[in-house]
């Protein structure tokens, strides 16, 4: 299913498959368009199953010309059945797609794998990004593995762990005194002047395709079946919309039978332009100044916001927001019931899942998949001070005094 053009999502004007992201006629976003699959579903399935245990097993559905390559294997993350969390929430069947298992511990390794591979095909020798942190980690790591110089632009107030981990890969970190939207604006300007591949600016159409693999893997791991409902975080709205596209791709190719799942989006109340638009019944996402602990979702001016709203409306889903306290509780709830420690974005997703369940929005017979997109070790401040620690001398007496009530086996 080779890619055959870049196509404007607004006015359908087509462009060659080069480094561009904006329609010159209407300023709409470009996305990769593919020729219809020529292989039968059985042939496609066999090729996928014979592929590597990385996202490249879905090469038939990705926009590369040559054989897929990446020096840092990514994807094929666990889909974990979360029975204890399901019981707590009153859901029959709940699965967690655990994206903390990627090389830099977030789903951003997927989008960067595709963007970097395509950037190399297009002849770029330097890669860059505008990041809220996880993307900076991924760009720095994948560029290092590929031997390419990289520049990552981040808001100066980012979580320390994300900055330190990014620096370890030997990249150029450009910290901007401003929020992510200011970083993004600067990168849009810089990308026009430098011969660099900005993964989420001038090669964004290829980058965005990486999130489709979240849906492909989910379907394959469910035994080539669809979930009934998906809960996923929304920052720019790119992941959210591309997950749905991934399920649609497999339905169109004859690999799955049924409909795109009910799509539910999760935002932090302190940065909820898409949830506010959904609640107001409009696709116009009025930009906001973010103020939330969920910094990886702190995009006040979301590029794919209108499409995220349309998708939630079309599939009978919802876009909800939760407070910082609910986010912290969500992190805790997921960790205590599933053993998966997520960053604030996963706290947002878990809290919205819990909110939908509590509101009776989820039918008890549904199969639900929640996308946990990043690792809790990157946002320790969100849970700092909540651990239950008992300090004692190395003395059996002190131990027994402290834990007398805990029972003896």
């Amino acid at each position: 299913m080779p890619a055959d053009a870049l196509k404007c999502k607004e006015c359908s004007t087509t462009y060659p498959l080069d480094a561009r992201y904006v329609c010159e006629r209407c300023f709409g976003p470009l996305e990769v368009a593919y020729a219809p699959p020529t292989s039968s579903p059985d042939e496609l399935r066999r090729r996928i199953q014979a592929g590597p245990h990385t996202l490249w097993r879905y090469a038939d559905f990705l926009p590369l010309e040559g054989p897929p390559r990446s020096a840092l294997p990514t994807g094929w993350t666990p889909l974990v059945r979360a029975d204890r969390l399901a019981a707590r929430l009153g859901i029959r069947e709940l699965w967690i797609k655990n994206e903390t298992a990627n090389p830099t511990h977030s789903f951003k390794d997927r989008v960067v794998s595709i963007a970097l591979a395509r950037a190399q095909e297009l002849g770029f020798e330097t890669v860059a990004c505008a990041s809220t942190g996880n993307l900076a980690n991924a760009v720095a790591a994948h560029a290092a593995a590929a031997g390419l110089p990289s520049y990552v632009f981040i808001p100066a107030d980012l979580e320390d762990a994300k900055v330190v981990a990014t620096g370890a890969y030997g990249t150029h970190i450009v910290a901007i005194r401003g929020n992510y939207d200011a970083v993004n604006r600067l990168c849009t300007e810089v990308s026009a002047d430098r011969p660099w591949a900005f993964v989420n600016v001038n090669v964004r159409p290829y980058y965005a395709e990486g999130s489709k693999t979240l849906a492909y893997e989910t379907a394959e791991q469910l035994g080539w079946e669809l979930p009934d409902r998906v809960v996923a975080p929304i920052a720019s709205g790119s992941l959210f919309t591309k997950v749905a596209r991934g399920f649609q791709d497999f339905i169109d190719a004859g690999l799955l039978t049924g409909d795109v799942p009910v799509m539910c989006g999760a935002q932090a109340e302190g940065c909820s332009p898409v949830a506010q638009a959904f609640a107001a019944g409009t696709d116009v996402c009025r930009p906001v100044k973010p103020d939330t602990i969920a910094k990886s979702l702190a995009i006040g001016n979301p590029a794919d916001g209108p499409y995220a709203v349309e998708l939630a409306q079309r599939t009978g889903g919802a876009i909800e927001s939760v407070t910082d306290d609910e986010i912290r509780a969500g992190i805790r709830l997921l960790a205590e019931t599933s053993g998966i420690f997520t960053e604030t974005a996963g706290g947002v997703t878990t809290a919205v899942l819990a909110k939908l369940a509590a509101a009776g929005a989820i039918d008890p017979d549904e199969r639900v998949v929640a996308y946990i997109t990043g690792d809790g070790l990157k946002t320790l401040d969100a849970v700092r001070g909540t651990a239950d620690v008992t300090e004692i001398a190395p003395s059996l007496d002190e131990f027994e005094a402290a834990f007398a009530a805990a029972g003896v086996a």
């Binding site: 006629r25 990168c187 990308s191 920052a235």
Partner: protein, 91 residues
């Protein structure tokens, strides 16, 4: 009021390859009208049918998104700089 409008690469072909334009107006809306008067092709690319901006066009006055100001009614003063950028980056 004399204002400088910086044009993104995607619009330059429709503006005779200019990277910026010197225009007049008392508000952002008037500035854009004067820009369209100078480069007629720009209107259909960034303005919608109702006289507003297309939904993937961002306009910044001195670095601030005009939607945090008074939108097209935002007053401008001599020497201000207006930047037009695509809204579809990031995430």
């Amino acid at each position: 009021m004399a204002v400088t409008v910086k044009l993104p690469t995607q619009l330059r072909a429709a503006a005779g390859n200019a990277t910026e334009a010197q225009v007049d107006g008392g508000t952002v809306g008037e500035v854009l009208d004067d820009l369209y008067a100078q480069h007629a092709e720009l209107r259909e690319r960034i303005a919608d049918d109702g006289g507003g901006l297309r939904r993937f066009v961002n306009v910044y006055l001195g670095g601030e998104d005009i939607r945090f100001l008074d939108g097209l009614e935002t007053a401008v003063k001599d020497g201000d700089e207006l930047t037009i950028l695509p809204a579809v980056a990031g995430g």
